[in-house]
Symmetry: C2
Subunit: 260 residues, 2 copies
């Protein structure tokens, strides 16, 4: 098809005319600078879906980089799901429909956004002895001190979720005011805790009378439940939470990327 040829030429033009400004004096790695600029070019449509990127050797030559550096940049976007490599063909921009869903919900949004919601009211912030369940989840001895955190999250003046969190008491201090302003994960990060991974279980059940009162739902209404244990990069469990969401006002969105 002639159309295909036209598109291919347009692609090359699109990438050739792309201005990539690399600052070798910057502390930001070159591959990262390139990746960021490619990503924004894709976002802004300068690189359209389906466009071929041009071969890696040429790109490297044109930018004055080595091929491994260019590959590292491209690879990071492949890992994000924005680009697709094909042996013998080239590297292509993923189609917009897929990209849009990627942008809508990164896998880590929930972790990142946890606690950053506009309105979170702290109902409880105190130290207790770890129950067997909590101790097991956090991998600490039963009876050890833990911070118990209970929060009510709402948007637009309507309650959305009831969050209960448990943290080893030695980990950090949780000032209630800062907690409502900043969010739990941001405070943990500020305390030097670097998150590594978290394990989540999502289920559903009907609201009890108490839960109904708290969340403004009738008894028996459907609720989404989520249990999470989050780990440090040293392998410590740093948080265990059991959360309850009003199903009518909340869903979990996430994106799966299939590794080749």
């Amino acid at each position: 098809m002639a159309e295909t040829e036209t598109v291919r030429q347009a692609n090359a033009a699109a990438f050739d005319s792309l201005e990539v400004a690399l600052d070798r004096g910057s502390p930001i790695p070159l591959y990262y600078q390139l990746a960021q600029q490619l990503e924004s070019a894709i976002e802004h449509g300068a690189l359209a879906p389906g466009n071929l990127l041009g071969n890696e050797v040429d790109i490297a030559a044109r930018l004055g980089l080595s091929r491994p550096t260019v590959r590292q940049a491209i690879q990071s976007l492949v890992d994000k799901g924005l680009l697709v490599r094909r042996r013998g063909i080239g590297t292509q921009v993923v189609h917009s429909q897929v990209r849009r869903s990627l942008e809508l919900s990164s896998l880590y949004d929930d972790l990142a956004a946890a606690g950053q919601s506009p309105a979170t009211r702290v109902l409880r912030n105190e130290i207790q002895s770890a129950s067997p369940e909590v101790a097991a989840a956090l991998g600490i001895p039963e009876g050890r001190d833990v911070i118990v955190l209970e929060r009510l999250r709402s948007t637009h003046g309507e309650s959305v979720a009831h969050l209960t969190n448990y943290l080893p008491a030695t980990l950090l201090d949780l000032d209630t005011e800062r907690l409502e302003a900043t969010g739990l994960y941001r405070m943990m990060r500020a305390a030097g805790i670097t998150l590594h991974s978290a394990r989540q279980t999502v289920g559903a059940r009907c609201a009890t009378a108490d839960e109904g009162t708290l969340l403004d739902e009738p008894e028996g209404a459907a609720l989404l439940t989520m249990c999470r244990t989050a780990y440090d990069d040293t392998g410590r469990a740093v948080e265990y939470g059991t959360h309850v969401y009003r199903a009518a006002r909340y869903t979990f969105d996430f994106q799966l990327l299939v590794r080749p």
Copy 2:
């Protein structure tokens, strides 16, 4: 602490005594061979949690590989969450508590396992015109032919989920028998469709009377709902599904890895 020193020495010994067999004649990449053997060493406890791996230059020298190749192997395990790198310190095996949860539920288990469950009964397998909702989800014109698939999944003789899927009719042929034996995703893979990503939304609601009958739950029982659109690596939507699970017998488990 003396204990720390002992552990550190044990680490070095653990890795030094690790036998890594590389086959340069194999079509399997060297970095992949190394990654696999490291992974199994971690699984089998030959490399214990917290163990330092030893520096990359030494490993490369000992195995007769270049450092980038060793780095590529290590990086792949870091991406899986099994190892943690620390600048100026070394590479460590992640603690077992974290690893266990990683092994329990890879992020892609659900996709991979979809349809491989022991008992799946096909209730419907026919071609229809795409409704507006389905057409929008699949990114095809309204009214275009789509395969409509309705399945009932059960384990241990009890129903667990009611799955409804829509696929562009041009994509592949779905033989009901093979579908029950093989599973949808395996059939798609066999048809040359390589999955790239999927977007999921998980929610909850109460069962209608019909759903209750189908799933053997009372009306009003809590149900987990899941909507998914899966994409090809060319960017085509290849499947849209709306699934309903009995909350009493099913939860979604997944693992988040925080990218540095």
